[in-house]
Structures are given as structure tokens and as C-alpha cells.
């Protein structure tokens, strides 16, 4: 066996192997493309097998067998063009001319007999070479417009087609010039082998090679994906994902996001093939994949969803690949890749589209988290800004209030001493009282703001709560006689004296304010195990049941409070609750409308730890 025979043997085996592979594929999925591929390699395999088979059967080479082989070979350019037409637009005129050329070749072979005269041979070779090279260029163009693994495989197929054409051209050289016969026969064998290898790489590349071809696009896509969640809008992210997916396939891509309110998949990028909203449970391919949550390949969208066929055709949508975009249990949407013509190799692409969809899920999910975090942050910032503003404004008010209150008090002192000023005493007294109220209001605003920010300072020291309660009752400026204090024992605990005073004072003032002028406000303080219990009871207007859960909220005033009759902005009880909680205690109220309210405060006197 010579080296040339070995080369020929290998390429023949490869041709047959490819045929077996594509024939199995065509049997599994009877698409036009698969059948055309099988026909092309079938013709090639039969042409190369005929000689050895006849030899094996002991049948000598005769005119018929030679003619059959010649016809099979001459069928190759036409079948190749059919294959190309499955993937790309081939003008009808070219298709018709090629078919015409093939029919003419058959007529020439049958009528002329073998060996052919030189003119006929020249015609056949010319036809073959022109059509194969045209086909090869067609595949090269196709490769240029595709990308990723598809591009590489299309390039390999193009190379195979080109090499076959050149191989035939070189082989033809031997018939034209006997001097070149030895060389051209060898060269054409080598070219045929190269063509066979190219086709193997194109139609059935080894897994490793396939992966390495996928890698650059995938790497680029993933690299870009990591920065995507930071894009300003979700729409911008979708555009980038669609572009990236499209480039990876050499096709167009669209992402539909699931809108639970509309129960539909929403496609922002209207590509004409789909309505903007695809209902969740419908015959649309996207909604089918969304329901099954399994990536699917539809060789022909129009056939898979005939009701919508016109729209698919109008938008030049042929084959469609769809994968669900899902993060954990959250179904986000679907990724669709679609083309006017069938992508050359859909089996690889199904895994790829799912991979890209998974990546899209990660990107969109991070985006959701970023959006959520930003929303929370913005809310916090707005709240903080408001607190800062109130607190700054209140602080700035304190300086003029200091002068106002101080000056009014000085006048009050003088009017008390100088008889000539006595007539102004009531007026000056009013200024002093109002300045005090203003001052207390500012203090309340600042305290409420501190409580809101958790910045209320509590300075604990041993105090007798009973004494504090009595002290508050004593220093109350008005209606002192209405307050009944009941404290029997020593109630020493570690608390902030000023804050406990403020707490009791607020509750007592409330009790006085919201009850009749002749009714009592009863203040009690006692010890219950490790708790100091304070209660303030009035017999006033009470609090409606609907307001009970809200009375301790900021700026909340009960529905039965006439704002014109009872001054206040609704901070007192909020501050009381803040003080109780800052001490690890709690506050609550029992009330009946028309009969009065009882406020309870319990404080753990450990100075540490919280109440359950």
C-alpha cells in the first residue's frame, strides 16, 4: 500500500463516517437541512465507495458503474448549493442554473459515454469548480455573519467545500495533461483528505474543540456580564444581554421579563415577531418554554405556532431557540435567540442558550438586589435628611429662644420689684409662658429626633423613682391640686433622672390636659419583683380603641382630640415610649372612651437588660 493509497483510504473512511453521522441526525430530526446534509454526504460516500465495493464483489469496472460514479460526483455541487440555501439566501436564478447544470451533466455523461471527449470533460469540470467555489464563498460569507462556535464550524464547512472544488480541479488536470497525472492524482487525494477533515471539524467537531471554539465569545459575554448589574437601568441591561446573546449565536436575541401583575412575558425590544406582552398561558413559544422551564429549539417558528405564522414570516423569524431565565425558584423570564435561517448547528446552541439564560438570570437577579438596596438606601437617606433638618432647625431655634425667654423672665422679675411696672405683669407672664412652651416644643422635637435615630442619651444614676414622681407633681405649674400621688416605699433603681422626670411629667400633663378641670389625676409608683411600675390614671375623654395601638406613634393624635381645644403636636407619648424603651422597659395604655385612660410604665431596675 502506498502513502497515496493510505491517504485515499483515510479520506474514504472519513467520508463514509460523516455520512453515517449525518444520516443518523437526519433520521432523528427530519428537517430539510438534515436531509440535505445527508444527501450531500450520501452522494459523496457512494461515489467513493463504489470502486472498492465493486472490487470486493469481483465486478470489473464497467461503463455503467463509471457513469453512476460520475453522476454521483456531479450531483455534489448541486447538493452543496441546496445545503447553502438552507442556511443563507441563495438567489433562485443561481439555484435553477445549478440544477440545470446538473441535469446537463447527467445528459452529457449518459449520452457521451466514458471516456468523455475533452469538450464535455471541460464542461463538467468547469461546472463543478464554479459551483463548488461559489458554494464555498457562500459558506465563507455565512461564517462572516455568524460568531462563536457556529462561525468556526461554518468556516470549516466552507474550507471543505473549497478544498473539494480545488481537488476536482487538480484531478481534472490529469485528464488534460498526462505529464501531470501522477502529481495531480496525489495532490487531489491529499486535498480530498483535507476536505474530509474540514467537514469532520465542521459537522462533528470533537467536544474539546467545540468547547475551545465556544470559549472566546462566552468569555467575552461573561466578562461583560459582571459589569452589567451596575448599568443605570434594567432596560439598558436587557439591551446589553440581548446584544451579547445575539453575538454569541450570530443571530438576534430578545429577552422577555415576566410581569406577575399582567401575568405576561414583557418584551421591551419589539422585534415584530411577538406582541410586547405575551400572555403567560398561551400557544406562544416563549410562554410554552416559560411554563415547561426547559430550553427548546423550534426549527421553524411558523410551523410550531401556525396561528402566528404570518407575523413570524413578516419579521423573518425562522428557527427559534428559547431558554427560561430562572434564579432559584424565581422565574424571571425567557431568553429567545432567533434567525431568518436555521443556524447551522442547533444542538450546541441549545446548551449555549441555556448557559446564557442562566447568566442573564444572575445579572438580572443582582440587578434586582441592587435596585432594592438602592431603594432602601434612598429611603433611609430621605429620612435621615428630614431628621437632620428638624434637628438643625431646632438647634438654631434654641439661641433666640434663650434670649426671648431670658429677657421675658428678667422683665417679669423687674415688674415684680418695681410697682410702676406691676400693670404689665400679666402681659409679661404670658410672654414667659409662651416662650417656655416654645422651648418645650423645640426640646420635644429634638428628643423625638434623637429617639428616631436611636441617639437618646441615658445617663443612669441611683434615684428614688417615688421621689421623682413626687417632685414632678410638685413642680407642675398648674392644676397641682388635681394630682394625687401614691408612693409607699423606697423605689431606688438606676435610671436617668432627667428622662424619668420627663416621662412622668409628660404623662401627668397629658392626664391633666385631657380631663375635666375638677377631676383627679392619680399617679402611683410601686415595685413588682425586679420591676418598678408607674401608672398615671385620669378620668378624661379616653382613647378610642382604633387609636390605642397608635397613640405612641410620632405625630399621632387620637380621633376624639379636638386640635383647637387641646394644643400639642403628638410627640409626648412617642418620647415617653422612647425613654421607657431606652431604659429597657415598656409602656402601654388601658382606656375607655368617656371614662379615662391609665398609662402604665414598667422599668427593670437592674440598669441593664431588656424586658421580654
Amino acid at each position: 500500500m502506498t502513502a497515496l493509497q493510505l491517504v485515499q483510504g483515510i479520506s474514504n473512511v472519513l467520508f463514509v463516517a460523516i455520512f453515517v453521522l449525518v444520516a443518523i441526525a437526519a433520521y432523528r430530526r427530519r428537517s430539510r437541512t438534515a436531509v440535505d446534509t445527508a444527501l450531500f454526504f450520501g452522494a459523496l460516500a457512494l461515489a467513493v465507495l463504489e470502486g472498492p465495493v465493486l472490487q470486493l464483489l469481483g465486478i470489473p469496472v464497467n461503463a455503467v458503474s463509471t457513469a453512476v460514479a460520475a453522476i454521483l460526483v456531479m450531483a455534489l455541487p448541486y447538493l452543496m448549493l441546496r445545503l447553502l440555501a438552507d442556511f443563507a439566501d441563495v438567489p433562485l436564478l443561481v439555484q435553477a442554473a445549478t440544477l440545470g447544470g446538473f441535469i446537463a451533466s447527467v445528459i452529457v455523461v449518459i449520452s457521451g459515454g466514458i471516456p468523455l471527449d475533452p469538450t464535455a470533460t471541460l464542461f463538467l469540470i468547469g461546472y463543478f469548480v464554479v459551483v463548488s467555489l461559489w458554494g464555498a464563498f457562500g459558506f465563507i460569507r455565512l461564517a462572516r455573519h455568524s460568531s462563536g462556535v457556529t462561525k468556526r464550524r461554518t468556516q470549516a464547512v466552507a474550507a471543505g467545500m473549497g478544498l473539494l472544488g480545488v481537488a476536482v480541479l487538480v484531478a481534472a488536470g490529469s485528464t488534460l495533461s498526462s505529464g501531470l497525472a501522477a502529481f495531480s492524482s496525489g495532490a487531489s487525494q491529499v486535498l480530498a483528505l483535507l476536505a474530509a477533515i474540514s467537514w469532520v471539524l465542521g459537522f462533528a467537531p470533537p467536544a474539546q474543540l467545540r468547547r475551545s471554539w465556544q470559549e472566546p465569545e462566552l468569555r467575552a459575554f461573561l466578562g461583560r456580564a459582571s459589569t452589567l448589574p451596575r448599568l443605570p437601568t434594567t432596560a439598558a441591561i436587557l439591551r446589553q444581554l440581548e446584544r451579547g446573546a445575539g453575538e454569541s449565536f450570530g443571530a438576534r436575541a430578545a429577552i422577555g421579563l415576566y410581569d406577575p401583575d399582567a401575568r405576561a412575558l414583557r418584551f421591551d425590544n419589539a422585534h415584530g415577531a411577538l406582541p410586547a406582552d405575551v400572555p403567560e398561558h398561551s400557544r406562544f413559544l416563549a410562554s410554552r418554554v416559560f411554563a415547561s422551564q426547559r430550553a427548546e429549539f423550534f426549527p421553524d417558528a411558523a410551523r410550531a405556532h401556525p396561528e402566528h405564522a404570518d407575523a413570524y414570516r413578516a419579521a423573518h423569524v425562522g428557527p427559534v431557540l428559547i431558554a427560561p431565565i430562572t434564579a432559584g425558584a424565581r422565574r424571571i423570564g425567557v431568553l429567545e435567540a432567533f434567525a431568518a435561517h436555521q443556524p447551522v448547528f442547533s444542538t450546541d446552541d441549545l446548551a449555549l442558550v441555556q448557559l446564557l439564560a442562566d447568566q442573564a438570570a444572575v445579572v438580572l437577579e443582582s440587578r434586582t438586589l441592587i435596585d432594592e438596596a438602592a431603594r432602601v438606601r434612598a429611603q433611609e437617606q430621605a429620612a435621615k435628611l428630614k431628621e437632620d433638618f428638624v434637628s438643625a432647625a431646632a438647634h438654631d431655634l434654641k439661641t433666640p429662644i434663650t434670649t426671648l425667654l431670658g429677657q421675658a423672665q428678667i422683665l417679669e422679675l423687674r415688674s415684680a420689684r418695681e410697682p410702676g411696672l406691676a400693670q404689665h405683669q400679666p402681659a409679661i407672664g404670658r410672654i414667659v409662658r409662651e416662650a417656655r412652651r416654645l422651648s418645650a416644643l423645640v426640646d420635644d422635637l429634638l428628643d423625638a429626633s434623637r429617639i428616631e435615630e436611636g441617639k437618646l442619651e441615658v445617663r443612669r444614676e441611683p434615684i428614688d423613682v417615688g421621689a421623682v414622681v413626687r417632685h414632678v407633681a410638685e413642680r407642675t405649674r398648674h392644676d397641682k391640686e388635681r394630682i394625687v400621688v401614691e408612693t409607699r416605699e423606697q423605689l431606688t433603681g438606676s435610671f436617668d433622672r432627667r428622662r424619668i422626670e420627663q416621662l412622668v411629667h409628660n404623662l401627668v400633663e397629658n392626664g391633666l390636659k385631657y380631663s375635666e378641670e375638677d377631676s383627679q389625676v392619680e399617679v402611683r409608683a410601686w415595685r413588682e419583683n425586679a420591676l418598678i411600675h408607674i401608672s398615671v390614671r385620669d378620668h378624661g375623654i379616653g382613647i378610642p380603641a382604633t387609636d390605642l395601638p397608635l397613640v405612641f406613634e410620632r405625630f399621632h393624635r387620637a380621633g376624639n382630640v379636638d386640635a383647637r381645644r387641646y394644643a400639642g403636636i403628638g410627640l409626648g407619648l412617642y418620647i415617653c415610649r422612647g425613654i421607657a424603651q431606652e431604659h429597657g422597659g415598656r409602656i402601654w395604655v388601658e382606656s375607655t372612651v368617656g371614662h379615662g385612660s391609665t398609662f402604665h410604665v414598667v422599668l427593670p431596675d437592674t440598669g441593664e437588660g431588656k424586658l421580654n
Binding site: T399, T402, T403, L405, G406, I410, E457
Partner: protein, 148 residues
């Protein structure tokens, strides 16, 4: 121990008499340091009418200059001021080994903590009750005045 100087006695009881006895009125001044001109004017007017000698400064720097020539019986010190604030003033004050009771007078809630930070004798929160202010001054001012 630093105690809040909040007089809780009834206002009317305090109003009826002047807490500063004119007969023992000290010639050593009360130094009031505050960046608010209205507060300075009010306190000067009021404390002088109560028989006290008053010197004022708009910030720590001015006060330190003044301290070269006067030896106050008490300093009323605002904390947040331009040029030199209460902390800066207290630091330089100690560096010069000056001795005099300081009463911190501030609108901040942290009045007590700030007073502790600079080693003040007492504090009073703004807006203050003028009777409380008088009582605080009376309680803490140095009375062992040097004869003129």
C-alpha cells in the same frame, strides 16, 4: 461630682427676692463668653442689675486676651463658638494655670458630658431659667475677693 444646677423651687418664690446680696457684691467680674451678641447684651444687663460686675467676650480667643487683665469670680462659657470654642478655651485656660470656676452654658443635650470633658464646675442648659442661672452663679462664684 457634677450636678445639674436646675433649681426646682417655685419660680414665684425666687422672683420675690434677688439672690445676690448687694452688700456683699463682689468686685471680681463674671466673665460671660458667648458668640451670640443678644445673649451677651441680655446677660450683661441682667447680671449688672443684680449687682454683679460683668465682662463679656465673643469667643475663647477674646476671653483669653481679657484674662490677662481681669481675674473673674466665675466664667459662663458657651461651647460652640467661632475662632476658639469652649474646648480650645478650656485647654489654653489650663495651660496658663488660671484658676476660676467655669459654668458651661450650652444649648446642646450633651451639656453635662461636655462640662465633664473640660473639667467645668457646673453646667446650665440653654434656654435657661434666669433664676436658675442666678442661683448657679451664686453657688459657684469665688467670694474670697482680693481687697482692692
Amino acid at each position: 461630682m457634677l450636678a445639674p444646677d436646675h433649681a426646682r423651687a417655685s419660680d414665684h418664690a425666687a422672683l420675690s427676692r434677688s439672690p445676690v446680696d448687694d452688700s456683699v457684691a463682689d468686685r471680681r467680674p463674671i466673665l460671660v463668653i458667648d458668640d451670640d451678641a443678644e445673649i451677651l447684651a441680655m446677660l450683661r444687663d441682667f447680671l449688672e442689675s443684680e449687682g454683679l460686675v460683668v465682662r463679656t467676650a465673643a469667643n475663647g480667643e477674646e476671653a483669653l486676651d481679657l484674662l490677662w487683665e481681669v481675674e473673674p469670680a466665675l466664667i459662663l462659657l458657651d461651647m460652640r463658638m467661632p475662632v476658639l470654642d469652649g474646648w480650645g478655651f478650656a485647654e489654653r485656660f489650663r495651660e496658663r494655670r488660671l484658676r476660676c470656676p467655669i459654668v458651661v452654658m450650652t444649648a446642646a443635650e450633651s451639656a453635662r458630658r461636655w462640662a465633664e470633658e473640660i473639667g467645668a464646675t457646673a453646667y446650665i442648659a440653654k434656654p435657661f431659667d434666669v433664676n436658675e442661672l442666678l442661683q448657679t452663679i451664686e453657688r459657684h462664684r469665688q467670694k474670697d475677693s482680693k481687697p482692692n
